[in-house]
Symmetry: C5
Subunit: 324 residues, 5 copies
Amino acid sequence: MQIYLFSRQGEVPQRLDSVEALPEEGFVWLDFTRHEAQSWPKRVEQLAGFKVHEDHVADSYNGDHPSVFEGTEDYDMLIFQGLVPEDCESHKDLIVTKSAAFFLFDRLLVSVHAEDSASFSLVKRKFCETKLRFPSTPFGLVHVLLDTMVDRSLPVVNELEARLEHLQDMLLDPKNPFEDWHELLSQRKQAHALELLCEQNRISLDTWAREMRVELTDAQRVRLNDLREHLQRLQRHADSIQKDIEVTMQLHFSSVAHRTNKIVQTLTVLSAIFFPLTLVTGIYGMNFEHMPELHWHYGYYAVLAVLVLVGGGLMLWFKRRGYF
Amino acid sequence: MQIYLFSRQGEVPQRLDSVEALPEEGFVWLDFTRHEAQSWPKRVEQLAGFKVHEDHVADSYNGDHPSVFEGTEDYDMLIFQGLVPEDCESHKDLIVTKSAAFFLFDRLLVSVHAEDSASFSLVKRKFCETKLRFPSTPFGLVHVLLDTMVDRSLPVVNELEARLEHLQDMLLDPKNPFEDWHELLSQRKQAHALELLCEQNRISLDTWAREMRVELTDAQRVRLNDLREHLQRLQRHADSIQKDIEVTMQLHFSSVAHRTNKIVQTLTVLSAIFFPLTLVTGIYGMNFEHMPELHWHYGYYAVLAVLVLVGGGLMLWFKRRGYF
Amino acid sequence: MQIYLFSRQGEVPQRLDSVEALPEEGFVWLDFTRHEAQSWPKRVEQLAGFKVHEDHVADSYNGDHPSVFEGTEDYDMLIFQGLVPEDCESHKDLIVTKSAAFFLFDRLLVSVHAEDSASFSLVKRKFCETKLRFPSTPFGLVHVLLDTMVDRSLPVVNELEARLEHLQDMLLDPKNPFEDWHELLSQRKQAHALELLCEQNRISLDTWAREMRVELTDAQRVRLNDLREHLQRLQRHADSIQKDIEVTMQLHFSSVAHRTNKIVQTLTVLSAIFFPLTLVTGIYGMNFEHMPELHWHYGYYAVLAVLVLVGGGLMLWFKRRGYF
Amino acid sequence: MQIYLFSRQGEVPQRLDSVEALPEEGFVWLDFTRHEAQSWPKRVEQLAGFKVHEDHVADSYNGDHPSVFEGTEDYDMLIFQGLVPEDCESHKDLIVTKSAAFFLFDRLLVSVHAEDSASFSLVKRKFCETKLRFPSTPFGLVHVLLDTMVDRSLPVVNELEARLEHLQDMLLDPKNPFEDWHELLSQRKQAHALELLCEQNRISLDTWAREMRVELTDAQRVRLNDLREHLQRLQRHADSIQKDIEVTMQLHFSSVAHRTNKIVQTLTVLSAIFFPLTLVTGIYGMNFEHMPELHWHYGYYAVLAVLVLVGGGLMLWFKRRGYF
Amino acid sequence: MQIYLFSRQGEVPQRLDSVEALPEEGFVWLDFTRHEAQSWPKRVEQLAGFKVHEDHVADSYNGDHPSVFEGTEDYDMLIFQGLVPEDCESHKDLIVTKSAAFFLFDRLLVSVHAEDSASFSLVKRKFCETKLRFPSTPFGLVHVLLDTMVDRSLPVVNELEARLEHLQDMLLDPKNPFEDWHELLSQRKQAHALELLCEQNRISLDTWAREMRVELTDAQRVRLNDLREHLQRLQRHADSIQKDIEVTMQLHFSSVAHRTNKIVQTLTVLSAIFFPLTLVTGIYGMNFEHMPELHWHYGYYAVLAVLVLVGGGLMLWFKRRGYF
Ligand SMILES: [Mg+2]
Ligand SMILES: [Mg+2]
Ligand SMILES: [Mg+2]
Ligand SMILES: [Mg+2]
Ligand SMILES: [Mg+2]
Ligand SMILES: [Mg+2]
Ligand SMILES: [Mg+2]
Ligand SMILES: [Mg+2]
Ligand SMILES: [Mg+2]
Ligand SMILES: [Mg+2]
Ligand SMILES: [Mg+2]
Ligand SMILES: [Mg+2]
Ligand SMILES: [Mg+2]
Ligand SMILES: [Mg+2]
Ligand SMILES: [Mg+2]
Ligand SMILES: [Mg+2]
Ligand SMILES: [Mg+2]
Ligand SMILES: [Mg+2]
Ligand SMILES: [Mg+2]
Ligand SMILES: [Mg+2]
Ligand SMILES: [Mg+2]
Ligand SMILES: [Mg+2]
Ligand SMILES: [Mg+2]
Ligand SMILES: [Mg+2]
Ligand SMILES: [Mg+2]
Ligand SMILES: [Mg+2]
Ligand SMILES: [Mg+2]
Ligand SMILES: [Mg+2]
Ligand SMILES: [Mg+2]
Ligand SMILES: [Mg+2]
Ligand SMILES: [Mg+2]
């Protein structure tokens, strides 16, 4: 658990080792990793006197919990799902999600997140480097954290799109016998998962904006809208990817049907040319005693000429009708 | 029929043999199996003085009734559909549903359910083992029962998903000639039935939350929301399963078309190589008197060489163009 | 035209030959078949003093009019579409609809329906057999009539489902060359028509419930809800049937593609085995003077051995690779 | 421009040559064809003192403008799209639309329509033949005109449906090699255009009913609802036509795949029978010196017997397995 | 940066080199290209005393920002996406979008747009030529600019439609082996992008109309509605294009399947005719000592007759059954 004290004036937040009571002004941030979060509701009760609902506590321990907002008289709970974009190249599944739970009290923010949450580390590192305007309300801090989580999904979407463009090129390449159906299936599943994730995150933010316990200032509302907009753009992206896969599948399918058509045409033309020629040689290969043509002096040459004429004629005729 | 008395203080519920009047505090639970439920409205009228509407009584006897909530002046009726997950492996159809009907009066809860409802037995067993916080209102008891019903659907969904993953692997296996169309059809039907079940359960809970006769406390509302959330997750699962089946079907279809394409290609290449060779042997098998080549000393070897050159040349040419 | 007088106390309704004025209590039911309905608005004006809108009168004469509710100051008009389930087996089209029009005044109910409407006959027969609780308001009587109409659709849906299951089995039977496309098309159309019918009936009932001129009692509302629920279940049924047809079509299609694939494979394997064998016999059928093998004593047996070895070898190789 | 004066008492409307001022009672109808409509806003300003918005004037000149309603303080503008059903048989495109614009002032109606609008001529002809109840408000006159426009779409829809039924029969005929893809594409486009037209007309009427400047009487509202209902029925029709085309396409496609399957099967069976027979004749056509069978007295008959037995046996076997 | 002063009386706007304070009446337009826009918020603060929110400033610098409206206490922000229709023929991607950001203060309009925005140049050119009614409010000026942007999308849509019609003709041409799958994919993507662009622009305008800081006059509202209508028409167009591509794809696919079917039929007929003929010549090519037919005087002619009869008979039979 890490404890930070944020002053009302937006000064550099202080890291504390322990905290006994809530400050008069500003707020305290209790940041738990899911691993060490077992006793967090007790701590909160000791510190602030509020009881957290049991089901909410259980939800905060669930790393796969979908995004959700729920308001109570004493606090607002927001669960938000982030992507884990590290090691894009090594992993097959890009869309690995991890939930973070936020509990916003009047002068207290509690967060519970995965041990290796890069977004939380990143925000804290920025605190040290004093790069960030320091938030003076729990809302402000949650906004910074969510913003970081959403921004970190962008490279994932780009990687997803790049992979799909590659699959698309392979699907529409007439030379390439595409075989990677499992990969294609998995890509589509991931794009759908991303769409669902964005949609649920957005719905949770909408509910939060509507039912939040505090009144937002104009500036805070602008920042929240910006966040929702970014999620909306991600969702639209994920939706487009799915549509594109679908259409590419159909185009691929059409192009395979086309190629089969042309191959069967070639086979038919081959048969139409060679079947009659072979029949002619079969006729003069029969062993009848009385076959006058066999005794003609130029019979053989005549048959050769017939073969060439028939074969060449058929070939020309098919070529003219565009059969190959 | 089983009778339980729940005190206001959340003490261990008492099992009674008969009940003459409703208690001043707490409430009475009349639990009927559908088999023995014929006379339940009479009993309720004797005990509490309320008449239950005829159509509601008829609905409570219908084990396949879809989820629904309906409120009247005297009581709330909630019908909820559960899954029957026993013996997953032996049965073909996973999604077998059974309805339970709940009638919530002021200090009386009536439930009508299938004889073999495992959820009701489970809850009662937990009462004996004093594991459960005992509910002090009809709402609380219904919540515990619904929660148990929903939790018991999870293994069914997992089994359904496992079966579908197996079907998916079979569909995309290029070696395997998939034939289990009836099974695939049945799986899709079951996923759709599950989606409908969740959706209707959820809609009934939403109506209940909106039109309930009693005012819920903050804590009760949190617990109800949690239940709705679990149903929503199940529904999303069922929806994903259906989408996946659809996409896999299309991929499977594409891969079959691919294979047909390649086989026809092979056939065409075989014909293109052997048709000319066979024609050559046909020509020198003719019985003309004057065929000078037949008398050449190396004629036979020359023809063999031509056969090898033409056949090998065509084979090389096709191999280079990637035809096989 | 038939005239019935319903008393306020729910006594047995009296059939009258003619009626001069509306009763002080209870209500009068004027029941017209569409055939004899030409002068009904005049009669109503004489009896009750209300003018019915021209467009409404025209709608009541239209036996194919879709379900609709419209309220005016003086009366409510409800048009409801029923199914005609007689002679299921003899007819091809199951979903034949006939509209009934209801005009609800304060103490007068007018109905206009098809001559052969079985639902109206059935309700009247029940009156004679005093099986029914007799309604004491126009609403109550309309409810009984609608309930009978909806109940009579159930066998139609069951027959429709049975037929489709039969089509489904035929479509997925690998032996059976399915040809009944017209039948399939008609079944899907009928399921869609049924869905539309239920949806529109339900929408009309919803509008009626919302905009009705009289205030309903709790018990009346319960009965109306039950009716809407039954329609909803029918609609869900019809929707499932359509989805199932769609999916079965796709599965059927996939299974045909599979079979084509396997047949082409067989053809290719046959060619791959017989083309080389035939070439060999073609070679030793040539008439060259100098073909040493022809003079070998065991040449013929050697060639036979080669044929058996090559043919058998190829067959084994293809069998091992699972080609047939 | 044609000018008509409608009295409040619903008397026969008078045709005027010119009009200087609006009447005290009743209303004036200024009817412009689009050709002569250039100066209509000026005329209206002179006559009634109202300025019409520039964008509205521009919309009234646009014969392809989609349906729309817009209300201002001084007047209501309604643009409505009609079909042009003349010469169904000669034209390829059935769904040719032409817009009419209506401007409803307090005692003035302005209409702008295509020169050859049959609906407007028809209504005027009915005026002369005193067949029509004469409207006494601008609303009444607009209703009569819209009703005529909608009624005249019915034959178009019937013709469209007839054409599609014909296409459907051709698509599902196993004998007929369907080639009319352009026609099919055009039919679907027209059904979609019709659906859009109805939907937009309906939306415009809904907006008009909601935002109209005058209060409608009960009877007027009934008539407006009837109009909306007719449009809804047309729309449902157009939607069904589109669905049917889609499903027929899929069925057609399945039936083609079926036929290909059977043809390939025939080809495979032919090869399976003739390949071995031809090989046998090839073997006994070889020229080896030592081929004992060639010298057997009944060798030839034995081989003929073998050919008949093998060929007939294979044929029987395939017939029994249902291959042809 | 360009500065214009608009008077309240709608006089010709004055171009200023610099501006120190906002005018008492009328308004000032600060027009920035994105390139030079770095310091615009500072300038606005100096001139009018308002602080622009940071996220809004960032959005104004983003040339790909989707359409959005956001209102604050001090100003309205509207981001609108336009198409870049220049050089239609040279570029492959028609739908290139560029955002313009508008900030509407009380007597100040700030716009930020792409350097080469033709719409902005066009509007300014019209100012010089005094062709335009000069707007007297920021709303009026924004409307003129948006109207110009929307009008300039029309040629893009027409070009898109022309290209698609060409693709459609190629897809349905039975002669043409269509190969341009990448082009088709790109066209569909562009139509979808256009639909999204219109939808978002329309949603932004709707939000603006609803939440605008100023009250619009009747005439202003008419103009805004006209703009929304034009966008709606564009969107409907883009939607139709997508539907058409989809249907054409299916038709194309069906027609390819048809052709494959006919080709395979031809191949099967060829085999059915030539296989038996070749077998006959094979039989009389065998070298048995005792083959009586070989010694018949007219044996050869008899076999020739048999070949002609069998071949011709089969051909006739197939022709009659419509196989080719
Ligand atoms: Mg979604
Ligand atoms: Mg959701
Ligand atoms: Mg947005
Ligand atoms: Mg979204
Ligand atoms: Mg979105
Ligand atoms: Mg989606
Ligand atoms: Mg498809
Ligand atoms: Mg569903
Ligand atoms: Mg659902
Ligand atoms: Mg429902
Ligand atoms: Mg949820
Ligand atoms: Mg849900
Ligand atoms: Mg679904
Ligand atoms: Mg429907
Ligand atoms: Mg409807
Ligand atoms: Mg229901
Ligand atoms: Mg329903
Ligand atoms: Mg439907
Ligand atoms: Mg498909
Ligand atoms: Mg549409
Ligand atoms: Mg529509
Ligand atoms: Mg619209
Ligand atoms: Mg209707
Ligand atoms: Mg409608
Ligand atoms: Mg549609
Ligand atoms: Mg298809
Ligand atoms: Mg779309
Ligand atoms: Mg869209
Ligand atoms: Mg949007
Ligand atoms: Mg519009
Ligand atoms: Mg639109």
